[in-house]
Amino acid sequence: MEHHSNEPQVVVIPPDKEKIAHLWKVAGIMLVVTIFEFIVAFSMHSGVMKTSIFVGMTIIKAFYIVGEFMHLRHEVKALIWSIMVPIIFIVWMLIALVYEGTKMADINFLSF
């Protein structure tokens, strides 16, 4: 069994129950949010209110995925801001172009 001497000695650290329980808790929150979205989808009439709820729920889910699963919430501030600040451009682009779209509808579909 000489070749075993080349194998690295790996020390396995026992699992931290609290940490794993926290991960499952986050998973539970995401599941509850998704179920809530389903209830809203079938119990509300479409409108600004319904859309706002969906966008809000999506941001909550995005926060947990990026913050907890991708661990960004626990990184140094410089990294958090490097990732979060450029997102402003996406928000701006979304607002600008959706507004533009409604104006295009006004011009293209005057008969409606």
């Binding site: 790996v10 699992p15 998704t34 989808a41 969906f54 450029p86 682009m93 533009e100 509808a105």
Partner: protein, 254 residues
């Protein structure tokens, strides 16, 4: 891992040996790649918002909705089929299952990363296998969803069109890039491009996950003394899940 930015006293931060972001080079570059990828997906989703808001919305009675190329369709009227339940109206149920599968595979991925921190090879193998299984399940569901979308419903949709100087009617089944039975042709184009681009990311993710699994099984990360690769690919896999959360909201729910 959370590490404070460390500078050696008496030396300028510009002399090197400093990690201001507190993460390794590989992880930092993965973060910036994901940021650029987020811009690509935003480009697609924002354009969807632009085109959708430039089309008239369906304003009539929700229960009496019919497909027409004159207004944007209500998504839950389009995506209402589930495998083995032919003809049963189950709006958004199948896509809800797909969402659940992808979120669960993200959870198993984060458990694999956690096991990697503890150098627990057996646990990494177990959770990576679950993650790969989730990814393959999602892709299979998407293959079915695409097939159903392309073939369409039995009744199809009758459209009026102006051909050679006179109005004629024609029945369209399913969808292609040129025309579709559900609504304006842009609707199907965006479906194919957005879910297709996301599906390709999932496919790449499954390949990367398999590579990580293979290298774990062969003991590569034990020899290296670090399971950081699991973490890097984990970041990518969570991002794919994140994108789906947005696609689910903006394509299927709103």
């Amino acid at each position: 891992m959370s590490q404070p930015a460390a500078t050696i006293s008496g030396r300028s931060a510009w002399d090197g040996g400093v990690s201001p972001m507190g993460v390794s080079y590989g992880k930092l570059m993965m973060w910036f790649f994901l940021l650029s990828d987020a811009f690509t997906f935003s480009g697609l989703l924002v354009t969807y918002g632009l085109i959708r808001s430039s089309h008239p919305a369906y304003t009539g009675d929700h229960a009496k909705f019919v497909f027409s190329n004159e207004y944007w369709p209500v998504p839950e009227k389009v995506f209402e089929a589930v495998p083995f339940f032919h003809g049963v109206n189950l709006p958004l149920v199948f896509v809800g299952i797909m969402t659940f599968v992808l979120i669960m595979s993200s959870v198993t991925m984060v458990l694999a990363v956690e096991a990697g921190h503890r150098m627990d090879r057996k646990a990494v193998e177990k959770w990576m296998l679950w993650t790969i299984l989730g990814g393959i399940t999602f892709l299979s569901c998407q293959a079915w969803e695409w097939t159903h979308f392309i073939i369409g419903t039995e009744a199809g949709t009758t459209i009026r069109e102006f051909v050679n100087g006179s109005w004629t009617t024609r029945v369209i089944h399913g969808a292609g890039l040129h025309e579709n039975q559900y609504g304006p042709h842009d609707f199907a184009d965006f479906f194919f491009f957005i879910t297709g681009f996301h599906g390709f990311h999932v496919f790449s993710g499954v390949l990367l996950n398999f590579l990580i699994y293979y290298r774990t099984v062969t003991g590569m990360y034990d020899r290296r003394g670090s399971y950081e690769m699991v973490e890097k690919v984990g970041l990518y896999w969570h991002f794919v899940d994140l994108v789906w959360v947005f696609v689910f909201t903006f394509f299927y729910l709103v």
